[in-house]
Each structure stands twice: as C-alpha cells, then as structure tokens.
C-alpha cells in the first residue's frame, strides 16, 4: 500500500448538529414486486458527513435515487433546508443546492471534459463566476485541467470519477451526494478521491456518501447508517462502527 492515509475520521469542521440540512423520514422505494428500500429514516446536519454502507443490493443506491427524485419514491417527510423534496421536479433538485455524483459516474461520454463541467452549472449563466468555479475544480483535480479538451468517454475510470465529482461541484452545492465513488478504481486512485473529499469536508461541505468500501466511508464521514436488504439495521458514529462486529459480519460473513 503506497501512502498510508490517516485512518481517523476528519473533524476539522464540527458538524453543526443544531441545523439539519437534509431530513428523510420513512423513505420507501420499490421496483414492481421488489421493495428495495423499506421505510428508512436519517438526517444530515450542516457541515456533517453521513455515510450509508451495506452489501450489494442493500438499497443504498435506491435511497439516493429516491431522494434525488430520479425514481418514484414515497416518504413521510423528505425535506432539504426546510423545503419539501417530494414537491420539486427532478430537474429542479439541483437548484436547492444538492450536487449528485451518480453510481458508475455517468459522465457525458461524447462531450469534452470542459463541457461536462460547464453542464454542472447548467442552471446558472456561464459567466465569470462559473469560470472561477471551474478554476477551483481544476485545483482540486489537476488531471482535469490537463485533459480539458479530451472527450469524457476516453478518460480512465479514476479521471471520470474526478470529473463526475467536479461536475457536481460546479453548481456550488451545500450538500454533495456521492454514490460508490470508489467502485472499480485502483487503490491509489481511491486514496486521491478520499483525499479530495476530506479537503471538501475541511472547507465545510456536507457530504452524503454511499459506499461499499467501509474504509473509505469511515475516513470521510462522522456518522454512518448500515443498510441490509432495504432496512436500516444499525447506525452510529463512524469511529464506533469501525470496530463493530456486525459490520464485519455483513462484510465478511464471519
């Protein structure tokens, strides 16, 4: 293992537990017969990092897609910054300040890196402020500046992941929602992604992270939720869950 990243969770910006940014109560998502998410509730305080972990098919992605209104979902309450999410049209969610990094990255393969990033700020005028943001993303991910003109489809897995995160940052969100950013990436690239997320947290960005790789989640979040078969089976501070036998059972089955 190359650089041994510090394993304790980052906590430079204390989560402002007083102000709740995202409040989800009793979320249900089902595909035809299959009930993927069974009344899951959680909340993300401002400046906080919340993780959702669990085995494949535990309903992690469905939870995010339900929250982003990309798939039909029912909930007792879904609020972000006090506004009810279920009355907002899917393409208006980004206006509330939620940046979304889909599972499998879903960059626009036929468009250049620059255009992908600019589309992240589709809702704003592409003025000087947006271009300044572009520069900041280039600082966070230098590789994106080098391949500015290249088609996103030609990038490596890691570069596409950085592009997907950069694209979401272009709308200057207050909450960054990431779905399995480490999937299929080489360990050294995963470390770069983790380092970037930790820097964003230090800058006060609140993060909702869905991940299969427990280590990545624990090193970026303060609080974690564990899902199994669509149900919330456990939650608690990341530091405590790191050594919890149940987590190990879910992951290693022993």
């Amino acid at each position: 293992m190359s650089v041994e990243p510090t394993t304790e969770p980052v906590s430079s910006s204390e989560p402002d537990t007083a102000v709740t940014l995202l409040e989800i109560v009793g979320l249900n998502v089902s595909y035809g017969e299959v009930r993927a998410v069974r009344d899951v509730s959680f909340s993300v305080p401002r400046h906080a990092g919340v993780g959702i972990i669990g085995a494949n098919g535990a309903g992690k992605t469905s939870t995010l897609k339900g929250l982003m209104r990309l798939i039909p979902a029912q909930a007792e309450r879904m609020e972000f910054g006090g506004q009810a999410l279920d009355r907002v049209k899917p393409h208006r969610i980004v206006d509330l300040g939620i940046g979304y990094v889909p599972e499998g990255r879903h960059v626009f393969p036929g468009l250049s890196v620059r255009k992908n990033l600019l589309l992240g700020a589709y809702r704003q005028k592409w003025d000087a402020a947006v271009h300044a943001r572009l520069a900041r993303v280039h600082e966070l991910f230098p590789q994106l500046q080098e391949s500015d003109k290249r088609l996103a489809g030609a990038l490596s897995g890691g570069q596409q992941q950085m592009l997907a995160i950069g694209r979401a940052l272009m709308s200057e969100p207050t909450l960054l929602v990431l779905d399995e950013p480490s999937m299929g990436l080489a360990p050294v690239v995963v470390d770069q992604i983790v380092e970037a997320l930790r820097e964003l947290r230090r800058g006060g960005m609140s993060i909702l992270l869905v991940e299969q790789n427990a280590k990545v989640t624990f090193s970026v979040t303060d609080h974690c939720l564990v899902l199994e078969n669509g149900r919330r089976v456990k939650d608690g501070p990341s530091a405590q869950l790191r050594h919890d036998p149940d987590v190990r059972r879910i992951y290693l089955g022993i």
Partner: protein, 291 residues
C-alpha cells in the same frame, strides 16, 4: 459512360443526395435524443413543401422570407407532433413503427383536405441557368440546394456544439438521468429536438419542391430513402446522416444512369449489402440512452 457523364451524373446525385441528407438529419436527431424512429418524417417534409407552395408560389412572398415562415411554422408544429407521439417514445419498435406510420397517413390525409389531392408544381427561386464547368453542366439551382443544405448542417453543428441549449440536448441524449440531475429539463429538450428535426425537414421540403412535384404523396418515397440514408450513415449519428444521404444520392444517380429502370433495385441491394457488412452503418450508430 465517359468522364463527363460520370461527373454530370455525380452532380445530379449530390443534389438529390443533399436532400436525402437533410431528411436523414431529421430522422437521426429525433432518434438520437428521443429514441423515436418517426416513419411519418417524410410527411413532415411534405407539409414543409406545401407551406412553401402556399407562401412562395401562391402568395408571392420572397423565397427567403417564405422559407423562414415555412420552417418556423413546421418547427412549431414539431413541438405539437412530439406531444402527440410522446407516448410512443422509447417504446418497443413495432408500436413506434406502426404508430408513426399512422401519424404519417393522417398527415397525408390532412394535406389532401387543406391543399387538395392534385398537388402543385413549384418554380425554382432563381432562374435555373446551367453553368458550364469544364464540360460538366451544373444547374444553378443545384448549387443553391447544396449551399442551403450546407448552411443548415453548419447551423445545426454550431447549435449543438456551441449553444448551451444544444450542449444540453446532446447531454440529455447521452444520459437522461445524469442530465436531469444537472438540472436539464429532458422533456423540453425532446420537444426542441423534434422541432429542429421538423424544421430541417421543412427546409428539405422547400428545396426538393421545385425538383420533384409537391403533392400529398411526395413524402412517402423521399421518407423511405431518407431513412435508408440515416441508417446507411449510422443511425443517430449527425455526420453519418450527411455522409449516408450523399452516398445514397450517388448510388441512385449512378444506378439510374446505367441500368435506368432497375435503379431502385440496385440502390436497395447495395444498401442491404453495406448494412450486412457494417450493421451499425458507415460511421457507427449513436443510440439514445434507453433506460
């Protein structure tokens, strides 16, 4: 066929090929963004041609003005057409096939009600004096057709590549879920794509009017060839539509030059051979992101 004849037939092939390219563009842009194969597209071209007859021929407006009005009207109708065909989008092909064919038949019926069944000839906007280029006669109207077609292609390219709305439309085609998350209203993009497709068909109709003969039935024949051209170039692929259109025009011209009456036979046999060798067309199919 001596050299002069080869070139002459080639010029004829390119001029009808430019029209097929425009029709193919209409097919591809609608397929690429909405995943809809609109078999009634030939009839949208016919509506555009009839509007040109109404404004340019019957009410004697200047050609450019009439063209702009006809294109604008057909494009606005395009929004309406998309609303009608929306239930068919991304559905499986058989329903889409027969649904859009029904739509085409209805358009033809409506044209007969509005403009009568006989149809009308359309004079060329500029006097069609032949220009002699080293023995090969090029009809001046053909030059206008090629120029206007090229202008449409460049305009479409600039819109897709430079304009924000164009980039958004491409993104919606590539990944409609990610596009929605970025704040792009995919439904409106689809309406706009259909309007652009209809507008381009109106231009093609206006250009082909003087060449063919504007009648309710003109859409079907041009529609089939235009669709074949779109597939030949690589379905959904914008540059492919242009290459496919010109190629099909040339194949048809040389086929009708040599074996006259068997031109349709040769055109479609060559088309089938190419598709069998390269199923995704000359420049490769760009499919829409089917959910």
């Amino acid at each position: 066929m001596d050299l002069r004849e080869i070139l002459q037939t080639g010029v004829g092939g390119l001029s009808i090929g430019a029209v097929y390219a425009l029709v193919a563009l209409g097919f591809s842009i609608v397929y690429r963004t909405i995943g809809l194969v609109n078999f009634g597209h030939g009839d949208v071209l016919m509506v555009g041609a009839f509007l040109m007859v109404t404004f340019f021929v019957n009410s004697h407006l200047a050609f450019p003005l009439a063209l702009v009005i006809a294109v604008a009207l057909t494009a606005t109708m395009g929004f309406g057409f998309e609303r009608v065909l929306r239930p068919l989008e991304r559905k499986d092909l058989d329903l889409m096939l027969i649904g859009t064919i029904g739509f085409g038949i209805a358009l033809e019926g409506a044209a007969v009600l509005i403009w009568g069944s006989e149809g009308q000839a359309m004079p060329t906007p500029i006097n069609d004096t032949p220009i002699n280029l080293a023995g090969v006669t090029v009809r001046s109207y053909d030059v206008l057709v090629l120029v206007l077609a090229a202008a449409v292609v460049v305009g479409l390219y600039l819109f897709l590549e430079r304009a924000k709305a164009g980039t958004a439309m491409q993104a919606a085609a590539m990944d409609h879920e990610a596009a929605t998350a970025m704040g792009i209203d995919v439904a409106r993009c689809n309406g706009r794509a259909f309007a652009i497709g209809a507008g381009i068909a109106a231009v093609a109709g206006a250009l082909v009017g003087p060449r063919l003969y504007v009648s309710a039935g003109m859409g079907a024949a041009v529609g089939v060839k235009g669709f074949a051209a779109a597939i030949l170039g690589g379905f959904g692929n914008i540059p492919g539509a242009i290459v496919g259109g010109l190629a099909l025009g040339l194949i048809e011209a040389y086929a009708s030059g040599s074996r006259g009456s068997y031109s349709d036979v040769i055109t479609f046999v060559v088309f089938t051979a190419v598709i069998m060798l390269r199923p995704s067309g000359l420049l490769g199919e760009r499919t829409v992101s089917r959910p």
